[in-house]
């Protein structure tokens, strides 16, 4: 990391005499062009505030959706500031350029990037604030600052006896000017990093006091429900507005871009009125697809178009032509919903050329664009207040629910909260794309000689640019929003980062094979899609790691050792693989009626290998045990790492065992937890997580637990039954 700390520290007098430090998140010098265009200078990105009465506020620019930023990022500041993490009060950031994620140039939380992008800048911010406080105290005492120290919110005199509270020093400290870099604490002196195990939000979340979007309450607030086209892309033709308007408590019935909104004085009255609403839809431009057609379309595309080359090494054609054995397989995965437990919701209040919005969102700056798009307001006339998120998993990167609340609020004189039902949340999601994979490999004397992977399906950027383009350039005139969105797609890889959502997990194929060919055939059936916890790794992981298992079997080799031998040059992959095998008892006898499967995937910079022990009980798949080894670099909060990996495993198992969204003539068939089930307490396997001790830069853990468990379970079932399953979800009677 090349960091120019001088350029990004700005000190100002905050309100009520507090010391306000603004800081930026400098980028890595090695980042690809496009991330760091223009000045080469990073602008302020987060705020630390210390008050005269010793309150310390940290403005959290990455939202808390369960993944632990609230605790983890606060811990980084606390470590260098020399206060306990519990002494800092995190606040959710408003929309401002300072809070953009440097990797995306958007204010969004995703891609398991929060810790990695904050690791150095936030510690530096803490260190610089501490240094200024120390110097201020040294000035008062007329001693050498280097001989003073800081501890627990105080600066300590060289005599070891006298001390001053930070609060007493803020005014003086704000006048200090730092020249040169402040050294960060060596790892041996860390008090909290790698040790902090508490979550700072646990109390609020165990007492019902944490405020989620759905909990926002405003004076004279109305409630709205929206009836949307059952088929994506359908338009409102007509509806019985007068009839519905006459129902108890109904204040307004209005057509908005996304359907028909009913506004009532109480939520339940709005819902009851919705039962009486009859909408005639114009389906002329709507989705009409049924489930099996998706894969037929994909297969046809795959036959006609070999795909864009994403990685090519050696000469795959001749190697496959000369192989002793050529193994071929086709894998497929269905659409998946996010099913955050807090359904989509947003509250908006329009008053005199200004709109204020409260919402659980992963991307507040995109929310601002969504609101501006459907009102007469400019983005800077919209304020977004972010709340706690009742789960995110990628769903809340798309701002359709904010768009609805803004459209309704703009037309009424009171605040309004839009709440989606569970059925609406399931049917009007943007899904993890259905994907198809064609795999081919050559074996010579049991040695893998060539690897050919054709990935077939859509990419996500095309669906996301609608608001993301304008959010990067919020001064753009609104009539250009759609153009800007399209430019985002045209300029992919030039002005915008390359969209690797379809190919990630495939192109980083880690095994040492001389001949590799990986291609993407782009085909988009028009079903709305977005990021879903672990994104491309979720489907490529299944294809790659199941096919590796097929090859090991074909070569007559042990599935663990077959992989291991091909990882000579990948020590971090190999380490987690070895540890998972040991932890999962790979070489020990497996209990009667059970079998083990293994899989490995590096995603978002974090290496995870897993061994799953599974069996069949009463006609159902039963997962008994999952052993996971993780290398995520330097650990900040070990308990959160374990929780995120275990949570990812259960998320992946839910997909492996149950996850499937199907369409019938364009209509999503699932609706609630009876037909889109989530793993329940009684199905929970025993999960063991081992973390590799590392001093490498920390990488994210929110997503990497998901990808390996799906193929590892499938591989275990193959070991048990001898039948290979190449489609998800997995079946007990395959």
């Amino acid at each position: 990391m090349a960091v120019n700390r001088r350029d990004f520290l700005k000190v100002g007098a905050g309100a009520s005499g507090s010391l306000v430090l603004s800081l930026s998140l400098p980028g890595c010098a090695g980042l690809p062009t496009g991330y760091e265009e223009g000045t080469g200078e990073w602008r302020p990105d987060a705020w630390l505030e210390i008050t005269r009465d010793d309150r310390i506020y940290f403005t959290l620019a990455r939202v808390e959706m369960g993944q632990g930023t609230y605790t983890g990022l606060t811990t980084l500041i606390a470590e260098e500031l020399e206060v306990a993490p519990e002494a800092i009060k995190p606040r959710f950031a408003p929309v401002a350029d300072e809070y953009k994620n440097p990797l995306y140039k958007l204010q969004l939380t995703g891609g398991s990037t929060s810790l990695a992008t904050s690791w150095e800048p936030l510690r530096t911010a803490g260190a610089e604030a501490r240094e200024m406080l120390v110097r201020a105290a040294a000035g008062v005492w007329r001693v050498n600052a280097a001989e003073c120290s800081a501890s627990d919110g105080r600066v300590i005199h060289p005599n070891g006896i006298d001390s001053m509270r930070y609060g007493q020093l803020v005014e003086l400290a704000s006048k200090e000017i730092l020249r040169g870099d402040v050294a960060l604490k060596p790892a041996a002196e860390w008090k909290y990093i790698g040790k902090q195990n508490r979550r700072l939000d646990a109390r609020a979340k165990s007492t019902g006091k944490a405020v989620y979007g759905i909990d926002v309450s405003l004076p004279d607030m109305a409630y709205a429900v929206v009836t949307r086209s059952p088929r994506y892309g359908g338009k409102v033709q007509s509806f019985n507005g007068d009839e519905v308007r006459a129902m108890p408590g109904v204040l307004e019935v209005m057509e908005i871009d996304r359907g028909v909104a009913i506004v009532a004085d109480r939520y339940w009255r709005a819902r009851k009125a919705q039962d009486a609403l009859k909408v005639q839809w114009d389906f002329s431009g709507a989705l009409g697809l049924s489930a099996p057609e998706v894969f037929e379309t994909y297969r046809k595309a795959a036959d006609e178009d070999a795909g864009e080359s994403e990685r090519s090494e050696g000469d795959i054609e001749s190697v496959l032509a000369n192989a002793d054995t050529v193994v071929e397989a086709e894998y497929s995965q269905p659409y998946l919903a996010h099913a955050t437990l807090e359904p989509m919701n947003a509250t908006a209040w329009y008053r005199k050329d200004h709109m204020e919005i409260w919402a659980p969102t992963q991307a507040p700056d995109l929310g601002r664009i969504a609101a501006a798009r459907v009102t007469d307001l400019a983005p800077d006339e919209v304020t977004i207040n972010t709340t706690f998120l009742g789960g995110g998993f990628g769903r809340r990167l798309t701002q359709d629910y904010i768009e609805e609340a803004a459209a309704v609020a703009f037309r009424i004189d009171q605040p309004v909260k839009v709440i989606w039902s569970r059925e609406e949340d399931t049917r009007h999601d943007l899904y993890r794309p259905a994907m198809l994979h064609r795999m081919k490999a050559g074996l010579n004397n049991g040695e893998l000689s060539g690897w050919d992977h054709q990935i077939v399906g859509p990419q996500i950027l095309n669906w996301y640019v609608r608001n993301a383009g304008p959010a990067q350039f919020p001064w753009t005139p609104k009539f250009l929003y759609d153009t800007l969105g399209k430019v985002g797609v045209w300029a992919e890889g030039i002005a915008t980062p390359k969209d690797i959502s379809a190919i990630e997990g495939a192109i980083e194929y880690p095994y040492q094979v001389a001949n590799i060919d990986i291609r993407h055939t782009h085909i988009d059936p028009g079903v709305p899609i977005t990021w879903w916890r672990s994104v491309g790794y979720s489907h490529n992981g299944f294809a790659v790691e199941t096919f590796m298992d097929e090859l090991a079997h074909e070569a007559g080799q042990d599935a663990y050792r077959f992989r291991r031998r091909l990882l000579e040059n990948e020590p971090r992959h190999r380490e987690v693989l070895d540890r998972a095998a040991r932890l999962g008892g790979w070489d020990t006898p497996v209990p009667e009626g059970r079998a083990r499967g293994i899989a490995l995937m590096r995603s978002f910079g974090t290496y995870v290998a897993q061994v799953v022990e599974a069996g069949l009980e009463d006609g159902s798949i039963r997962v008994y045990k999952v052993a996971a080894a993780v290398d995520c670099g330097q650990v900040v909060n070990p308990a959160i790492v374990v929780d995120q990996i275990e949570g990812g495993i259960l998320f992946g198992l839910t997909a492996a065992l149950y996850g499937e969204i199907t369409l019938e003539q364009g209509e999503v068939q699932q609706s609630n937890f009876h037909d889109y089930p989530l793993l329940r307490q009684y199905e929970r396997p025993e999960v063991e997580v081992e973390i590799v001790d590392s001093t490498e830069t920390p990488t994210g853990v929110g997503e990497p637990g998901v990808p390996p468990v799906i193929p590892a379970l499938g591989n275990a079932l193959f070991a048990l039954t001898g039948k290979r399953q190449r489609t998800l979800p997995l079946k007990a009677d395959a």
Binding site: E64, M65, G66, Q67, G68, N197, R198, R199, D201, A202, R203, K205, S206, T207, G208, K209, V211, Y212, I214, D215, S217, Y223, R266, Y267, W268, R269, A339, T340, L341, E342, P343, F388, L389, G390, G391, G392, F393, I419, R422, E423, A639, I640, D643, Q644, E646, G647, G648, I649, L650, F651, N672, F673, H674, L678, L679, R680, Q681, Y682, R684, V687
Partner: protein, 159 residues
């Protein structure tokens, strides 16, 4: 229609349609948003409260069924500022991730312990199976409940 409802020890008189789910009365009329809306169909348990000592899914309990009854929500589980032993265990074990399901999880666990102070693992799992958690906090939930059970046993041993 006027209804009388006692929630966390306070009696309220409400003028509201009888079929309104108890959940929305608690959240929107009485200002107790700790009880969450997850599915509206009694499938996820996020809205679990106690009605006359029994756990109910408030999203699918019409308020008229709770009339004249006593309701306890997450906000009323502790005594004043003192947390319920389960809430303290939830904090000590760092159970919540996104936290959205946890009010319901705690209310289900509290009912279990009020009827069976020393449940075994299988009994805990069975009692908690109606509460979904999308983040996957299930093992910490079990650990937190078991720690309260162990604490109660230790306290009784000392007495």
């Amino acid at each position: 229609m006027a209804l009388r409802l006692t929630v966390n020890g306070q009696t309220h008189s409400l003028d509201i349609e009888a079929d309104t789910p108890l959940l929305w009365v608690l959240r929107d009329e009485l200002g107790l948003p700790g009880t969450k809306f997850g599915c509206g169909a009694g499938l996820c348990g996020a809205c679990t409260v106690h009605l006359n000592g029994q756990p109910v899914r408030s999203c699918s309990t019409p308020v008229e069924m709770a009339a004249e009854g006593e309701v306890i929500t997450i906000e009323g589980l502790g005594r004043g500022d003192r947390l319920h032993a389960l809430q303290q265990a939830w904090i000590d074990h760092g159970v919540p991730q996104c936290g959205y399901c946890q009010s319901g999880q705690i209310m289900s666990a509290a009912h279990l312990l009020s009827t069976n102070p020393s449940p075994g693992r299988d009994e805990i799992v069975a009692a908690m199976t109606g509460n979904l958690c999308r983040c996957g906090t299930y093992s910490r939930i079990i650990a937190a409940v078991e720690s309260v059970v162990a604490g109660e046993k230790a306290a009784q041993g000392e007495a």
